[in-house]
């Protein structure tokens, strides 16, 4: 498939290791655990890419390195051609608006003491947006939340509604890139479907580039045009979704596919 678009997010030979505090000797440095071992890929502008892998394969770590919540220990992260690998927080600030993240657990990612209005408005304020109230209302509309919800606290919302607030907060900033880390795995099936529909629509309408982390291949299959399979911090497969599902190349991918119950489209009941 020819790629007419430029590449928005590029990861080159990314390494990330963390000190293992449980095995730290009394004196001296702790031994380091390698979590990401040389990951490379490029996300085209406007693409929706799934990142899958078993538990502990490094998906969240990769995601957090991409939005620079973590600093890589090797390799490079380029956002729209800008090297953000080792930028300090001050240097990142002007760029922060452009790459956003939606978190897995909205009970943890929404401040329980802030109302929905504040949760969505604060990032806008930090980036100097004008007419913030109107933007909050628009973001709520876009994710299909009633405007009255703005006055509520997170605990006064359902799980699906909370996740919509998380999405609204991210898209209100009009970012170019969104990283979604397991954002539907905490939801029941019907809210899952709603949130996925919403995401599909937003990607289409807003021209977002989306990296969608999940361990659920059926979700990835529906949403993403390309899949990156991670195993123990390395990429084992990186192909268009249709190809991958038709003929998984790596043994690990076949295991993943086998271990996850997929709805069979040809199945007929009764």
């Amino acid at each position: 498939m020819a790629e007419p678009c430029a590449e928005l997010h590029v990861v080159e030979n990314l390494h990330l290791s963390l000190p293992d505090m449980t095995r730290k000797p009394i004196f001296g440095a702790a031994p380091r655990i390698e979590i990401l071992r040389g990951i490379s890929f490029a996300l085209a502008k406007g693409s929706v890419v799934g990142i899958v892998g078993g538990s502990g394969s490094g998906k969240s770590t990769l995601g957090r390195a991409m939005v620079r919540l973590l600093e890589p220990t090797g390799g490079r992260v380029l956002f729209d051609g800008i090297d953000i690998t080792h930028r300090g927080e001050a240097g990142l600030r002007p760029l922060r608006r452009r790459f956003q993240m939606i978190f897995q657990d909205p009970t943890s990612s929404l401040n329980p003491r802030h109302r929905v209005r504040t949760i969505i408005a604060e990032p806008l304020r930090l980036h100097g947006f004008a007419d913030i109230d109107a933007r909050v209302v628009r973001a709520l509309d876009q994710v299909g939340l009633a405007r009255e919800m703005a006055g509520r606290f997170p605990h006064e919302l359902s799980g699906g509604q909370r996740q919509r607030v998380g999405i609204a907060r991210a898209i209100a900033l009009e970012p170019d890139f969104i990283l979604a880390d397991e954002i539907v795995s905490g939801l029941d099936v019907s809210s899952q479907a709603q949130v996925l529909n919403l995401l599909e629509r937003l990607v289409r309408d807003l021209g977002l580039t989306l990296a969608f982390i999940s361990h659920d291949l059926s979700v990835i299959r529906r949403l993403c045009s390309r899949v990156i399979v991670l195993r123990q911090g390395a990429v084992v497969e990186d192909r268009p979704t249709a190809d991958l599902f038709a003929a998984p190349a790596a043994e690990y991918t076949r295991e993943l596919l086998a271990s996850i119950p997929l709805p069979d489209p040809d199945q007929t009941w009764g």
């Binding site: 922060r96 608006r97 978190f103 943890s108 929404l110 401040n111 606290f153 900033l173």
Partner: protein, 283 residues
Amino acid sequence: MADGRGTIRRRAGLRLWLAGGWLALLALAAILAPWIAPADPLAQDLLGGRLPPIWVRGADPQYLLGTDSLGRDVLSRILWGARIALIVAALAGTATALIGATLGLLAGFLRGWVDLLISRLIDIWMAFPPVLFSILLIAVTGPGLGPIILAIVVIDWTRFARVVRAEAMAQGAMDYVASARVAGRGRIGTMLREILPNVVPTIVVLLTLEMGISVIVEAILSFVNLSISTDQPTWGGMIAEGRTSIHQAWWVLVFPLIALFLTVLSFSQLGEGLKDRFDPVLR
């Protein structure tokens, strides 16, 4: 809906009202003491010593709660004593909370060398036995309102610092902090706007408990004669005096004791009640 929240809330409500009611009454009495106290708390009446409270035979209707061995009006002394007790509670409690919570918040959220420094300080500080510490301090500075407040702050700031540090650490691990970073908020901004609102309830609960503790500490120090000068009536001083004449005049001991007990209890119950009220899920 009968899901149990109503009952919890009502129980917390009653507790809050009773405790808050007593403290409000006491505060009012303390403020108005110069006008509502029936007698001069220091005026001695050598012929009217150890008069019993009004409902006991042989009482003088002029002295509602009786008089002490020097003929001073017990009720008036309790009212004036409330002034000292509440001033100490308010000032010592607030100062302790401000200092302890600020250090705890910085240590717990910023981590790193800030935490290392503050944690070491807390450890070293807590190695001193607190009562000895306060007695030593007052022995050096001499008795008075200021030294007592200082002694309480010096001893108890670690309580706030430890609890708030742990709480700030737990809050710092929440995703809303990561989310604030993704939104481009700086460290100090995140600490004040995101973390602080989540630890304020803990601080308020500790503050009310600390106020109760301050009242007790002030009473204890008065009791061992290390408090305010002797020409100001304090509950601790009254209890100390009343103890010596318990068999002849029980009321001199019992009434200030009741006032002290109710006040300390109210502060702790207020803290507990507020804790329930602050829980966003129960609200």
